[in-house]
Amino acid sequence: MNEQLAFTIEVFANGLMAGVLYALVALGFVLIYKASGIFNYAQGVMALFAAMTLVGIQNGQVPFAHLINAIFGTDVHHFGWHVHSFLAIALTVVVMIALAWMVQKFVFKHLVGQEPIILFMATIGLAYFLEGVADLMWGSELKALNVCATETACLPQGMNVWLEGTTYEALGYGFFIDNLDIVASIVAAILVVGLVMFAQYTKQGRAMRAVADDHQAALSVGVSLNFIWVLVWSLAGFVALVAGIMWGAKSGVQFSLSLIALKALPVLMLGGFTSIPGAIVGGLIIGVGEKLFEFLIGAPYLGGATENWFAYMLALLFLVFRPQGLFGEKIIERV
């Protein structure tokens, strides 16, 4: 097999895996946007917040320890216990639900009926707020995150030896793919199927779709908007947690985690803000596109690091021709 071609295919596969992770973040956006028309910029910071909370609970850190020490001159930092990963995840989910409730109660309840762009800016404010709170609560240093079922069965790290060996024997070229990326793809697939099932076959899911369709009509048949919005923010919080675990396990929990939200934006524009399949497909296109572009054009001719902007440029060009994205609803404007 041609070496160059095989390498390109490998880049392609890695792009697909990266795309899955982008799609994971984009999913959270779509959920909230569909149900409440809020374009939630804070999704990335929610992922950061969830991952930090998870690590903090796992390691038994005292929340706000740094602040407490500064004010009272004490020296607390850890409770001195380690929480099992699954329990920690459950607790983090509770925290995310509480967060969703608070966001709804203190922020968006007061902004009902405002213009979308005002809501968008409110979520930018929320993102700053959450980031500050997360740093104050758990400290801003780089943390390692790993989720373990038992002492030895953790999220896998490193590359997949089996895949490399098999492909090497079959094709004469060993493919190099991260174990974690494979796990992330499987988790993302399960998550998407789960969300679609939830939206299609449960009572709350049906109510959610009703709200997405028409707020007032849903209200008039007795759907509680407040409940649905809290539900949707909780779901988005859960998706953020999953994304936070995957990204955190890959590159550590730190501030840059929240920047993946920015990467998810072109994904959304490409796929359309209102479509769950769109988020997935958009994620894959962006993931593959930026890796291939970097490999084929960026690194050899443009001096590298084109991944920083390629996704935005692609989305920009794409939007000029199709302003509603791939799967978005057609934008109809009337005077």
Binding site: F120, L136, G303, W309
Partner: protein, 370 residues
């Protein structure tokens, strides 16, 4: 009582349409200008210039520019940092002489521009780049446009990082302003005097504000506002959306470019593009106009003053009074800024400018509120 218009008669159209129709307002404005021009330069010191006044003046220009685009024309932009970088790098190239290469040979080199004209050229180049990135706004609206302007932000920062021509092939990849003087006073470089840099920035700020004020209340401003309020309707009554949107991008980018040039040349002296003009800068300027008031000239100043003062005030209170570690104060600052944005959007979507307007209205009637 404090604020009367009784007896303040206006007998010509020009008087009726002036920026400050009420006498009290007008005199207050003259007093502020007088203090800014003739008093502050004599009492200014390094600390005041570098931590408060220079950033305030420079950010005020950027906020004015962004306010024209977002507040008056309704096109949300997250590319401010990138456009400021264009201003800074153009200013740098014109200061040190633009060199044009073709096929590995130096074709010609422009003479070094005076710092004053370099700053202006920074604005002009940014206006051109702004128009280029404004073109998609004809097709893309709302959030989609906001995200599309991120393309400008990331692409421009990448460009200035990677293409060595922009930083004159310096080893560090930074640009640093050489010593330049204007009318006999040093403006850039390490040994400037605070009053000179202050007056230099003040000049640009005042001129920008006057231009912005007059553009926004004239024909172009009305067109922008018509586009903001409803673009299809505006098109039907005869506003050309292409022209209106692109002029908004042009004027806005011009101001932002000037602010970027001053930020680099006068305020910082040396910058690394990712650090000084990253996405956080875009958000900072956006926050200034949200807190200050969208679609208000005064709001741009108020927002800039607020967000320049806030970190300094927090630092004084947190670090100096309470003795907290600086990282806690930095995190608290995020919480406070984020919280304030949300509170402002809930309580007063029109920002400080609206609070000021309400206060003025109250003062006019005080002490008889009916």
């Amino acid at each position: 009582m404090f604020y009367r218009e009784a007896g303040d008669f206006r007998t010509t159209y020009a008087e009726d349409q002036q920026t400050f129709p009420i006498k009290f307002d007008r005199y207050r404005y003259y007093v502020v200008l007088f203090i800014a021009i003739f008093v502050i330069p004599f009492i200014i010191n390094d600390y005041w210039a570098n931590s408060l006044l220079l950033p305030f003046l420079i950010y005020a220009i950027a906020a004015l520019g962004l306010n024209i685009l977002v507040g008056y024309c309704g096109q949300v932009s997250l590319g401010t940092g990138g456009f400021m970088a264009v201003g800074a790098y153009s200013c740098y190239k014109f200061m040190t002489g633009v060199d044009i290469w073709w096929g590995g040979e130096l074709l010609f080199r422009l003479p070094e521009f005076n710092i004053f004209f370099s700053v202006i050229m920074g604005g002009v180049m940014t206006a051109a780049v702004g128009v280029l990135f404004g073109l998609p706004s004809l097709r893309i609206k709302g959030f989609y446009l906001a995200v599309a302007t991120l393309a400008a932000q990331f692409f421009l920062v990448w460009l200035f990082n990677r293409v060595a021509w922009f930083y004159n092939y310096s080893a560090s990849g930074q640009i640093s302003a050489p010593e330049r003087e204007f009318m006999g006073a040093l403006i850039t470089g390490p040994s400037t005097t605070p009053w000179a840099t202050y007056l230099f920035c003040l000049f640009f700020t005042i001129v920008s504000a006057v231009i912005a004020r007059n553009m926004t209340r004239g024909a172009s401003g009305r067109k922008w506002m018509a586009i903001r309020d409803m673009d299809i309707a505006a098109e039907i009554i005869g506003v050309n959306p292409l022209k209106a949107k692109l002029t908004a991008f042009m004027v806005s980018s011009f101001f932002i470019g000037i602010s970027g040039a001053l930020f680099f040349a006068v305020y910082l002296g040396a910058v690394e593009v990712g650090e000084a003009f990253g996405i956080t800068k875009s958000f900072l300027v956006l926050f200034m106009i949200i807190i200050g008031g969208l679609g208000s000239i005064f709001g741009s100043f108020a927002g800039a003053a607020f967000l320049v003062l806030l970190p300094v005030a927090l630092k004084v209170v947190g670090v100096d009074w309470f003795g907290w570690p600086t990282d806690i104060v930095a995190h608290l600052q995020l919480v406070v800024v984020g919280g304030l944005i949300v509170i402002f959007l809930i309580a007063e979507p029109h920002g400080i400018a609206q609070l000021w307007r309400v206060a003025k209205e109250k003062l006019r009637l005080w002490p008889f509120p009916h």
